[in-house]
């Protein structure tokens, strides 16, 4: 466990340095934007990482909620499988296929994504049973908010010299990212201020409503003309292959970094709960029944 963490840290450090060097030195300079464009190697990977983490939070939350009732558990499992299969089949239907191709997306890519959904759902339930799902939800939300903040900070820094404005109100991607950030900040606030013994349940309910909100936010602004560049993968945007290569390298580095942070945050939360449980047992006058996974130091409060 500890050795794995160390290996991942070293690997992440090296990758981050190498990816930064590639992004700042090796990558070709963009013709019209110049060096400002290099922020793209930090902006886009952060965005992908943040969205991935929020998605993990959503899946963990829904699974945590469904866990309480066996019927709900089965129902959610089959709903996820149905969504996956329906999505995979639908992406090859001629009208959908036509629509996708006109948007520059490959139907096979969408089908794979759809099929990954139930797989992801089932794996998450297997790897993180019981309370661990909730710990995963907290962790991913916290780290996701940090990466989303990076996105929201680097975006205006790029937009000012390129668009001439810091922020384009009404733009679909900008606004939906901001709303996503707001929702998850309120999620973290709820967890912080809750004095209920079932904070996990409340938080999971909020996470699910937040996730339902995201497509609605997207649709509510969809007909505004968007200023944001087209997505480089699965969109109409075009990109130099060398740039794409460096972008993906940067994303890998960011993902390693995110999983490193998530890992330590996860351990911290597990330990915190063990300590709390131990205190609770102690105050009940019973000997400490939980087996601590790490020796507890004094003054952990």
């Amino acid at each position: 466990m500890k050795r794995g963490f160390l290996i991942l840290s070293v690997l992440t450090g090296l990758l981050l340095v190498y990816a930064s060097y590639q992004a700042l030195e090796v990558a070709p300079t963009e013709r019209t934007m110049g060096d400002v464009q290099r922020i793209f190697y930090y902006h886009v990977p952060s965005a992908w990482t943040a969205f991935l983490l929020f998605f993990i939070n959503f899946v963990a939350s829904i699974q945590y909620l469904a866990r309480t009732k066996p019927s709900a558990q089965t129902a959610t499992k089959w709903i996820f499988i149905a969504i996956g299969v329906a999505g995979a089949v639908a992406s090859f239907l001629p009208p959908v296929q036509q629509q996708l191709t006109s948007l520059g997306m490959r139907p096979s890519a969408l089908a794979t994504t759809a099929l990954m959904l139930p797989v992801f759902y089932l794996l998450l339930g297997k790897w993180f049973p019981g309370e661990k799902l909730d710990i995963l939800a907290v962790t991913s939300a916290e780290v996701g908010v940090v990466f989303c903040t990076v996105v929201l900070v680097t975006g205006p820094l790029w937009a000012r010299p390129v668009w001439g404005i810091w922020w384009a109100p009404g733009d679909i991607r900008l606004t939906s990212t901001l709303v996503l950030w707001l929702i998850y900040v309120s999620y973290l606030l709820l967890r912080r201020f809750s004095n209920s013994a079932q904070t996990q349940m409340l938080a999971a309910a909020l996470a699910v409503s937040g996730a339902l909100d995201v497509p609605l936010v997207y649709f509510s602004i969809w007909f505004f003309r968007t200023q944001h560049p087209q997505p480089v993968i699965g969109g109409n945007g075009s990109i130099d292959p060398r740039m794409l290569h460096i972008l993906l390298l940067n994303w890998l580095a960011f993902l390693c970094f995110a999983s490193l942070v998530c890992w330590s945050r996860f351990r911290l939360e597990v330990l915190k709960r063990e300590v709390e449980e131990a205190y609770a047992m102690e105050s009940l006058g019973e000997p400490v029944a939980v087996a601590p996974s790490m020796p507890l130091k004094r003054g952990t409060r």
């Binding site: 909620l65 309480t68 709303v179 707001l182 929702i183 900040v185 309120s186 606030l189 709820l190 201020f193 809750s194 004095n195 209920s196 013994a197 079932q198 904070t199 349940m201 409340l202 309910a205 909020l206 699910v208 409503s209 937040g210 339902l212 909100d213 609605l216 936010v217 649709f219 509510s220 602004i221 007909f223």
Partner: protein, 229 residues
């Protein structure tokens, strides 16, 4: 359970009747909401020039901001009232379906906010010299669907914020981010009708979708919230 479960509608009707009677006798929520939104109208009419032609462009946002903040005042009271004498605890152990309580509270708040809107609209017309250029009847579905979206969200999150340390402060923090698409629909829809520049149909459909999605979700989730102590 040996007896037949209590029917959803009878509990909803009973709770709704109780809430309306309480409100009718005390007029706590309505009075505070009315005075609050009156203050918003007056303060905003000082800060903008109400005679300007642009008032048509800003009033859509203003009206809904006033109603949103006013609704929060009422929504904070809706569950706090049940905490006195452990009414909520009694409800939790009773065999009555949890959703009946939720529906009753949503309907009650919906009625209060609609009454508030009906009373406040003339004031807005007077203070901002409104003259609607689009089809006026479309404001009715926008108002009803928008209010339902506000109230269904607000009632749910008020029940959630009941379980937090800083109850009254927590409600807007939870309510506003989730309500953004609905608020956008109401504001943009109202502005579209007021200016008559573009059709408001899209916003009505958006609000309808929002209402259906969230009402279903909250009916499914409310039991968890009610029992989380």
């Amino acid at each position: 359970m040996t007896e037949a479960p209590v029917s959803l509608w009878s509990v909803t009707a009973a709770t709704l009747k109780k809430d309306i009677r309480l409100e009718w006798r005390s007029k706590d929520a309505l009075n505070s909401m009315l005075f609050f939104s009156l203050l918003v109208v007056v303060i905003f009419s000082f800060s903008f020039d109400p005679l300007a032609e642009e008032s048509r462009l800003i009033v859509g946002g203003l009206v809904w901001v006033a109603f949103l903040f006013a609704a929060v005042v009422a929504l904070n009271q809706t569950w706090a009232r049940e905490l006195r004498n452990q009414v909520l605890d009694a409800y939790r152990v009773s065999p009555a379906p949890a959703n009946a309580l939720f529906l009753a509270k949503v309907l009650g708040n919906f009625i209060f906010v609609i009454v508030l809107e009906a009373l406040m609209t003339p004031l807005f017309i007077i203070f901002y010299n409104l003259h609607v250029l689009g089809p006026v009847w479309q404001l009715i579905p926008i108002a009803f669907l928008g209010t339902w979206a506000l109230v269904v969200n607000g009632t749910f999150f008020a029940a959630m914020s009941l379980r937090t340390r800083n109850r009254e402060l927590m409600l807007p923090l939870l309510l506003f981010p989730i309500s953004i698409p609905a608020v956008l629909g109401m504001v943009a829809g109202t502005t579209a009708v007021l200016t008559g520049d573009n059709p408001a149909h899209f916003y009505i459909v958006l609000l309808l979708t929002y209402d259906v999605v969230f009402t279903t979700a909250y009916l499914g989730l409310f039991e968890t919230i009610l029992h989380a102590e």
